[in-house]
């Protein structure tokens, strides 16, 4: 077992572990894509990755920088149009898991990726919902990866970009893991070395803690090795 890993690495590994083998997963770009591909290259080799650019069953050797890299098409089982990927495949109810990021999440699990501040006169204009509103609404399980702080974990999001479906919802942060129970995100696990107090301080509402609070297993050597290979290939691609 490796000891020298970052909080971000643990967050990514922890997210990857949420993905079971043989599930069909709609993947957002960035950390969600990293985590989903880490899962595919470790414990979940038969996971099917679907990207909103229309690639179904992509098996990229290196992490894509954008949602529509050529690699995603070349390694796909099928490439379809964007209307088709959203209508026949996502809305059609064929996707098990949606893997998303966000700028803010609130107590009830609503996600904001649109604006910080007022919509008409925003403090920060974020990219916007993109594929997330329908991904969140149409999948059986939503996995969100987001760094936890008082600014990102808020009582109520500044803008409701996406409202996750009534199914399972899990939020993986650099501090631990939260699951939605009775319409509220509850801390169910902390990462090694993280205290409940720390998690509470990094939360903008009065955070509920599960009775059977768990601790995350640290990343295995294998998980770290694959993750770091993925990332270094990505850094090369950026250069």
């Amino acid at each position: 077992m490796s000891e020298d890993f970052t909080a971000d690495e643990l967050m990514t590994v922890s997210s990857a572990r949420e993905l079971q083998d043989r599930t069909v997963c709609f993947v957002g770009i960035g950390l969600p894509s990293t985590a989903a591909n880490l899962a595919r290259l470790t414990h979940a080799p038969r996971t099917v990755l679907v990207y909103e650019s229309g690639t179904i069953g992509s098996k990229p050797a290196a992490l894509p920088l954008s949602i529509g890299d050529g690699e995603l098409a070349e390694t796909a089982d099928s490439v379809v149009s964007v209307p088709e990927i959203f209508n026949y495949w996502l809305q059609g109810g064929r996707i098990d898991v949606g893997f998303l990021g966000a700028a803010q999440v609130d107590r009830r699990g609503n996600l904001n990726s649109t604006v910080i501040g007022d919509y008409d006169k925003p403090k920060v204009r974020l990219p916007g919902g993109g594929g997330a509103p329908e991904i969140a609404a149409m999948v059986r399980e939503v996995i969100v990866i987001i760094r936890q702080s008082e600014r990102s974990f808020v009582e109520e999001v500044d803008f409701r970009s996406s409202v996750p479906a009534t199914g399972d919802m899990v939020v993986i942060t650099d501090l631990g893991v939260l699951r939605r129970q009775d319409d509220e995100l509850v801390l169910t696990r902390v990462h090694p070395g993280v205290s409940v107090e720390q998690a509470k301080e990094a939360t903008g509402w009065d955070l509920r803690v599960a009775d059977d609070l768990d601790e995350t297993d640290p990343p295995s050597d294998e998980e770290l090795r694959v993750l770091r290979e993925l990332r270094s290939a990505l850094e090369e691609a950026k250069a």
């Binding site: 770009i29 960035g30 909103e52 650019s53 229309g54 690639t55 894509p64 920088l65 954008s66 949602i67 529509g68 890299d69 050529g70 995603l72 098409a73 490439v79 379809v80 149009s81 964007v82 209307p83 959203f86 209508n87 996502l90 809305q91 649109t114 919509y119 925003p122 403090k123 920060v124 204009r125 974020l126 990219p127 916007g128 919902g129 993109g130 594929g131 997330a132 509103p133 329908e134 609404a137 149409m138 803008f159 409701r160 970009s161 996406s162 409202v163 691609a237 950026k238 250069a239």
Partner: protein, 267 residues
Amino acid sequence: MAEVQSLEDAVRELVHDGDSVALEGFTHLIPFAAGHEIIRQGRRDLTLIRMTPDLIYDQLIGMGCAGKLIFSWGGNPGVGSLRRFRDAVENDWPRSLEIEEHSHAGMANRYAAGASNLPFAVLRGYLGTELMERSASTVARVECPFTGEELAAVPAIRPDVGIVHAQRADREGNVQLWGIVGVQKEIVLASERSLVTVEEIVDELEPRPGAIVLPTWSVTAVAEAPRGAHPSYAHDYYDRDNGFYQEWDEISRERDGFTRWMEENVL
């Protein structure tokens, strides 16, 4: 029959001040060369339409070509913000920018409705989100006449001009593209007038796996523009210039530096 002409002539004939213009290409085949030509010709008050504005709309917005933007995700993919887009929305620079914001699924369905000559499309989505309220003039609720179920409706998009990039055309103007096909076909068919820039014009379009063909009579103009998607990519021609997407973050950071770069590299 599409007219095969120079990029300059095609843009001059097809794109006018005040037009609604969609330059599409989902990450792949983004028509940068055509966008640059629009900037050089100094078009103003355009309604720009694109799911992912990307760098090309950051440039058009920063150069003051746009009065309105219809979009669904306005970031620099894999990097972060579109700084000129943000400056326009947050600070009205170089001018105010009206925005009409949708989800990807909403935009894709609006294009498909436009291509289908329908006034609106129906989808599951928007319900519960604030997009429903903020874009109220372009999102409505409809009831299924058979089940009574409530769904979202969005109006068709039928741009004055639709512009896409493709790998190839033949001398008659038939267009072939492959790889990620995105909404290329939808935007060409939804638009009043259309321009397809291509990597090369060839004698014959050989069938290829995953390729779609737009017959010449469904396109208004075809213009040769080698590397016309750079820094985006053209599958089997050149890769995405990920380095440039990174650099853009720095180039576009300040107004002066951006303007200087555009003067030196585009105008």
